[in-house]
């Protein structure tokens, strides 16, 4: 039987199935030319391996190693993100957000939103004229999920409370490639993201408040009026569509 050189090459590279392998091995035993051809393919592979093997032994240059260094290393910052941060800051400064939000935001959003904004269309939030607004799975979780329930998505709701203006606010955790935590408050029929911060908390270890980044906790402390809602209050608020219920109707 005659074998093509491609077939012999595939044999040398370990790409053939058992039957074809057996046929070629039988042919190699019969015909030294076939055995030679296979050996040539193998020898070339070995030569290539040894020719480039030295690269693996070289020390990796610092500029490359630092790119993949763990948390604590300087993040890779690109110009786009710096511009986005600047814009986000300007927007915050000119918005009607209470002071706590601006303060927390200068810590949290200033650091992270810039990087987040440039990540493309699949984000569970969107930048609108009035700020960041929850979309998709985050919007769905904030609207439907009750604390303590295990949703199937990546978004988890933490505590729910009313702010001084009576609007409902909920903390959330978003388990994505770079996990985020934040605070969203109901504004009209949308959830406005007041604070967004990167978090090291992983899914599963999220305690109602313990895993929240400081920026989010401060924002909650500053905004909360009274106590967080209990389960009954939460589910009543949800069923009522999260409409504002002022504490002091005047």
């Amino acid at each position: 039987m005659k074998f093509s050189d491609e077939m012999l090459m595939a044999y040398a590279d370990g790409e053939l199935d058992l039957v074809a392998r057996a046929e070629i091995e039988a042919a190699m035993a019969r015909d030294p030319k076939i055995a030679e051809a296979v050996e040539r393919h193998r020898a070339l592979a070995a030569r290539l391996q040894s020719a480039y093997g030295g690269v693996l032994e070289e020390p990796v240059p610092e500029r490359l190693a630092s790119l993949v260094a763990g948390p604590g290393a300087a993040p890779v910052v690109e110009l786009d993100s710096i511009r986005a941060v600047r814009e986000a800051r300007a927007k915050l400064a000119s918005s009607r957000l209470p002071q706590w939000a601006a303060m927390a935001a200068s810590v949290a959003i200033g650091l992270f939103v810039g990087l987040l904004l440039m990540r493309g269309p699949a984000l569970p939030y969107e930048e609108t004229a009035t700020g960041l607004v929850a979309r998709g799975e985050l919007d769905a979780a904030l609207t439907q999920q009750l604390a303590g329930s295990l949703g199937t998505g990546r978004a988890r709701v933490g505590i729910t409370f009313r702010d001084r203006g009576g609007a409902y606010c909920r903390t959330f955790y978003l388990g994505r490639e770079a996990p985020l935590a934040g605070l969203a408050c109901r504004s009209g029929d949308q959830w406005k993201l007041e604070v967004l911060a990167a978090t090291s908390a992983r899914e599963g270890e999220l305690q109602p408040a313990a895993a929240m980044p400081m920026a989010v906790l401060h924002a909650v402390d500053a905004a909360i009026e009274g106590e967080p809602l209990d389960a009954a209050g939460e589910s009543a608020a949800r069923d009522a569509g999260w409409w504002k219920t002022p504490h002091m109707a005047e």
């Binding site: 050189d5 070339l44 480039y52």
Partner: protein, 169 residues
């Protein structure tokens, strides 16, 4: 303990992959500074799109694909600038090899440098990086038949350039 996020996983795994990424880059760019620039560009891209990597799939093939595309873009840009330079620097650094094995390495690398890019990439993925034909074809976004024919032609050319009489081993 806690499970790492995909981004952490990618970051960590990339750290271990760096030597291989540098090697692949060396094969396709044919010189040291370009190779490390290419690795840097590819790592930055990969970290920015860590979410696109499917956990459980091969990170090395994914990275090689990113590098291939980045290199093709770079070569195109260079051609536009009409600044294609000859690969005379090929293999200037070959680690701690003895003089004899360095000679062999240089001749292999010089021969590789003469191959058309398509063939060089196929050989780099299969014979240097050890990917299966299937993974290599996916990485290059070509049918497996195209991959095997590039591989066969590249090998033939290499064997011609190196001379059969010099077969190592």
């Amino acid at each position: 303990m806690s499970t790492p996020t995909p981004a952490d996983e990618v970051r960590e795994a990339l750290g271990e992959l760096l030597p291989r990424l540098r090697r692949f880059a060396r094969v396709i760019t044919r010189n040291v500074p370009d190779a490390d620039d290419l690795v840097q560009i590819a790592v930055e891209k990969a970290l920015a799109r860590a979410a696109q990597w499917r956990p459980g799939s091969r990170l090395d093939s994914w990275m090689f694909g990113i590098m291939k595309n980045a290199w093709i873009d770079e070569v195109r840009a260079r051609r536009r600038r009409e600044r294609v330079h000859a690969p005379e620097e090929a293999g200037a650094q070959v680690g701690d090899a003895s003089a004899e094995s360095r000679d062999i390495a240089l001749s292999v690398q010089a021969a590789m440098a003469r191959l058309p890019e398509e063939q060089r990439m196929a050989i780099a993925l299969v014979l240097v990086e050890g990917l299966s034909y299937k993974d290599a074809a996916e990485t290059l976004s070509v049918p497996i038949g195209t991959l095997t024919s590039r591989l066969a032609r590249g090998r033939e050319a290499l064997q011609r350039l190196l001379g059969d009489d010099r077969s190592a081993r």
